[in-house]
Point group: C2
Chain length 455, copies 2
Amino acid sequence: MSLLEQLAAAVGERNVLTGDLVAGYDRDWTGAWHGDPRAVVRPATTDEVAAVVAACAQAGVPLVPQGGNTGLVGAASPSDGEVVLSTTRLRAVGVPDPGTGTVEAEAGATLEAVQTAARSAGLELGVDLASRGTATIGGVLATNAGGARVLRHGTTRTQVLGLEAVLADGTVVTRMNGLPKDNTGYDLVQLLVGSEGTLGVLTRALLRLSPRPAARAAALLALEDAASAVAVAGALRSVPGLDALEFYTAAGLDLVLAAGRARTPFADAAPVHVLAEAVGPDADVLAEALAEALEELPGLQDAALATSETDRARLWALRESHTEVLAPLEPVKLDVAVPLVALASFLERLPEVVAAVAPGVTPVPFGHLAEGNVHVNLPGARPFDVDGAVTDAVLGLVASYSGSISAEHGIGRAKRRWLHLGRSAADVAAMRAVKQALDPAGLLSPGRVLPDPLA
Amino acid sequence: MSLLEQLAAAVGERNVLTGDLVAGYDRDWTGAWHGDPRAVVRPATTDEVAAVVAACAQAGVPLVPQGGNTGLVGAASPSDGEVVLSTTRLRAVGVPDPGTGTVEAEAGATLEAVQTAARSAGLELGVDLASRGTATIGGVLATNAGGARVLRHGTTRTQVLGLEAVLADGTVVTRMNGLPKDNTGYDLVQLLVGSEGTLGVLTRALLRLSPRPAARAAALLALEDAASAVAVAGALRSVPGLDALEFYTAAGLDLVLAAGRARTPFADAAPVHVLAEAVGPDADVLAEALAEALEELPGLQDAALATSETDRARLWALRESHTEVLAPLEPVKLDVAVPLVALASFLERLPEVVAAVAPGVTPVPFGHLAEGNVHVNLPGARPFDVDGAVTDAVLGLVASYSGSISAEHGIGRAKRRWLHLGRSAADVAAMRAVKQALDPAGLLSPGRVLPDPLA
């Protein structure tokens, strides 16, 4: 039997797509990463996933797992000749268990589907991203996705209580008992979280749910510079229930306003805006706490408080529409982090570093202030980045501050050349040994995360 | 040069102990695990640790890292012929950074030393154990220790922001940048946490610190049975700031009282006691919240509230002196967990299961109620457990509830025979592959965690 016949036997003929039918699965949503897959396979159960992986292993054909295809580093879009294992049909979401505060979800369930299920039980998932309607649980876990709620909840890996995955040889590892304490050997769950499809295909997860706060209040602050934004982070640290702390600059705001995607509550433009949100039993008390913490803050030009759902949504639109208004400009996108104490200096030096390799390009930085996490968007920089000169310059600047070259998007295909800027040679060697141990033939998402040997 | 000469060259002659000088390092504190080490080596820096590991690797001599020697599964006490790498001289604790909420500590620093440093900065470490004065950070991380504060903070691994370790080949992996978001490849930190010295020697860690709550209040509850204790867990779930939820039975209380180690506030003995503690801005408000949540709880016979430090300490002494009053009775000790919904049933069936293999032995169960984590102590059971019959019976019962055969102590040498009760064959194979990848010669803590092949 040919590989395609074996795949059809495993998942049914109509779930093995080839030719024109691979459209949409063959590239990421930005169009930056694409390839000609050998086939797209859509298993509906863990057993079917195992059969697909085993068939590819036997045929020696590389395979890449794919969820919502919202990743930004090319981890889940195929290279030529790969089989795409799409989790589209693995989308069941269990009934949340209020007793244990958990919910089970299949890898292909969208983040939003899990959030909705949690809410229906009076609970919430401590993970949220702008792409929630498309991004899948499998992808969110495989990339240890960040987002705007890491401040209160930690990164995705802290919300993962259990996981099931198919390894490269087709065997299934499972840890779904949900026990909060279980020290029985190595933590394969945490090893798989953030491994970007290179160590296993995630099929199912047990996720932690938290009590849903009764109220939320948000404050949008107009600030004179990035240093003031960092001071805001310090001033708000003591506010109980601080849940999000985001920032954007005038460059991004101009694009959002020009696109008519949101309205600013301020008459004058400010160089830097910070959006803070806190949760607790009472919205007015929260708003008061935010206002009080910000009293006499130097550099604060203006502030707007929001306690209603509608008003909060208006403020969030200013921040969340950044990604979409930037997309048509085909920017080079680099997701990085620097220690918070270095953030103002990093943002100050960024334009000159970019201008040196990409004349005329103005950075549009925005992101998650609390973690020093900056989405460096560089519209018009792609022609200058063909050989990675722009990426090299920005990531080099990040490394000079002991920052992270990938705060939340992962390494994928996009950044593996630069992995040495974030990890030591000993670290990379250990990672390579683990990869070799779990995928000796190198068939799971090859060419992602780890640089080529001797590169 | 002989191995001992090489070790002396690495750490200084006076820090290579042999003969009678190995006393104390050659056995765990219970005396259950012991061996004749080839030498005890006490490096004082990471470079010295690397030199020791490299020298042992070159000589093909097995090595076992050892911290405070308070572990209970034989992971850190030597087998015959092993070199003990003691972290006694790696005990520096950094100055807590209130800005990032972190503190750096060397592996040999005691848990208490780090707690004290945190407190001096108005912060707290979210990890606490009764053995805090002796247990080291290295041991606490290597075992992913649990303890009484997992309820609010999670297990130790959630408090680890960075780690440095020496791998089996003497190379040093380091991730100490402390960035809350850093998705640059596999999470070696979380792989090393809980690996019980089998994948690397931990040398240094960056730990998360939390704001220190202004007040604490505790409630000791006398209950008519275990089912009532489980009901307490449900009733208290909604109390904000719930920080600990412990339990013990009449069997343990009798031993504690007989030893004069603590006094009970109740006139009558109750079958089950639960100790709950909550944290927040005001002790009286907390005590009120606890009392209110417990109103009309079926099975509640008596209750005592404590808001002062002294009163709280008195209640905690009842729970924390269990381990020490049991020690002279040389019990078989099995640390297990079952889903909370199964706890009452487990505790009910435990005596008959034990009696079937160890006639006359009465279980003394106590532990961490919130996680269904039971320290099954079996005084007088050792003669019946020579071939593991008692362990087998209890762990079999645990497995029948889909519980954990080691909730917080780890596997070590004690439970590797039973690993299959908690992990699937595919899981164990994957763990073995990882071990083989990072320690191909099998010289780091051999005979721990993983069962012998073909066993």
